[in-house]
Symmetry: C2
Subunit: 395 residues, 2 copies
Amino acid sequence: MPLERALAQLLAMADATPISERETVALAAAHGRVLAEDLVAGLDLPPWPNSAMDGYAFRCADWTGTPLPVSQRIFAGQAPAPLQPGTCARIFTGAPLPAGADCVEMQENAEILGDERVRFVEPITVGQNVRPQGQETRVGELVLAAGTLLSAIELGLAASLGRAELQVARRPRVAVLSTGDELVEPGQPLGPGQIYNSNRQLLISWLTRLGCDVVDAGILPDDLDRTRARLGELREVDLILSTGGVSVGEADFLGIALREEGELALWKLAIKPGKPLTCGQFRGVPVIGLPGNPASTLVTFALLARPYLLRRLGVQDVTPLQFSVPAGFDWPRAGNRREYLRARLENGRAVIYPNQSSGVLRSAAWAQGLVEVREERTLQAGEPVVFIPLSELLG
Amino acid sequence: MPLERALAQLLAMADATPISERETVALAAAHGRVLAEDLVAGLDLPPWPNSAMDGYAFRCADWTGTPLPVSQRIFAGQAPAPLQPGTCARIFTGAPLPAGADCVEMQENAEILGDERVRFVEPITVGQNVRPQGQETRVGELVLAAGTLLSAIELGLAASLGRAELQVARRPRVAVLSTGDELVEPGQPLGPGQIYNSNRQLLISWLTRLGCDVVDAGILPDDLDRTRARLGELREVDLILSTGGVSVGEADFLGIALREEGELALWKLAIKPGKPLTCGQFRGVPVIGLPGNPASTLVTFALLARPYLLRRLGVQDVTPLQFSVPAGFDWPRAGNRREYLRARLENGRAVIYPNQSSGVLRSAAWAQGLVEVREERTLQAGEPVVFIPLSELLG
């Protein structure tokens, strides 16, 4: 199945089951959450014309080269009196322009005379060094639409409009489930045939960064009844996200449970790493099963599960930012699946980790991004490839 | 002052005052922190040769086209017995290879006979479908160096090595201080001449994401004695980060306090936005003063304050990832300062927000990154420019 089709199906499923409950949170708690209201400006920004400089405000038409007396001093935060005709006001950056003034001359161009008058020698124009009222935003304008993923910048923008709280989508509740009898949690001793579970930590970190409440559902038991019981405990979650296991035909209790009491689709994605993806539900709770190799988990989480969760929260544009950069490597053998190679930029070129085996998480720690090589494609160094920064893929 | 020189001076200051205290935290709490130990592999990864496929393991030399009896079944997580000569083992993905086996044939290429024997029809080579022991990591290898900023991937890697905890640098304590009598906190009514404080929210969000303990020092009082007292309360912090104010000559109580009881350097950075930067200390506590316009705050935080803090935590490479992309705009007037324009990618080209005034935070919410235009440079659409994703600049 092509990646685009898998993503389109997941997004359609997400659109059909939006997380529409919302809650009101303080700005500082809204970082990484999704806005659930349209943020409309309740005031002009700036609220009044103000000075972009430390200097002198006056009426441009009063400038004749003759010195002007200083009739008031206006600091930021003060409400000025109207400007007396034929005078200037000492003014500081950010202070409101007095009524009657229409320009500001910077102090570097002002000659201060002994008798509290100031001479302006440079010609000046109406509006010079003035930030007009409403330059950034006008009352009633839509500033941020519902469905915006909130970073610090959006929170600063909301603060500038006087908002101390925002309505956001409630946190998705996501259960993380690992499958595989070989898995042992870090910190425990490793028995024969066992390996440490790294996917649980990957998913918990990514999901937490995405604003999810994570339910750690542990390692799936190797037994059908206990599998059913474990899944049944998760009926309050919005998604069960599992890793590993479903491709192991003869011991696939998760697959059996989904077939019996839900739905199960096994997608063979035409990407590498990341071939097998499970998509289904158990008693109505959506289930996405990612492949168990850590590099496959990374690629399928970033390209499929994360966009799915963002869309359930109302985010429309879930396409990661990507760049075209020259390849710093040859790719002589065309593959029949689209490859996502762990890559770095070196001197402006994308170089790839020598071992792209799907089990290798070190390649991802070394990498700054993923390079996409399309199916049926060969490459010579210097040809352009798509580079997707990990920071854009994983938040 | 050129940006490079300002950054070099700040990094030298950071190197001279490293935050060297460390603490041990659980993996889930280490996201966004800086590793304070060298992470050395305590085991081989994988710990033993294992199967990359569901299939059959045997000794390659035993393959003659004659069917082989199945002498054991090995699931992932099991410890296999040595392979009986002249037989094969049913094996599943991730399961250890039994001693004596040196290859795995995938089940799709196996013909199962009625008498518990299996015929392999395709030729096979030693090592085929086997993940060798230590392919990813060997015992004793340095996997992550002290000074690594920890993302989910590094935590997954630590988990795969069995580590449940890591030593990280302690959180920096950073006091956020706004200056400006015009500032009112969001949620409060706005009086004449007043505007809402957006920088406090920006800095708190960015610093929290960077793993800092933020001390909210509020808005600086408009009074020298109270300014001294407020600064004196912050003696336990690692950095006082202020915004605004220091360029307002006549009402600069922060500047006076630093000159009297510390040090004060005012740098005129050759960048736009972001000209004035304060660098100093008060009774030995480092002070960085960012300009007060939100877009200037953003650029100077991202390009100077954040790298400074990362370096104090031991991060060596603080250069953000950047890309060369074709400009989607003309830049006909060369400036004498380096410009950082709020930009997006559209059809692979960098387009810029129409209003690049330093007061405009909406441009940053619209933007996906900053485009750097060098001083004394003009541009025509299609020429390459440097594009730095905001996700790389702000974490």
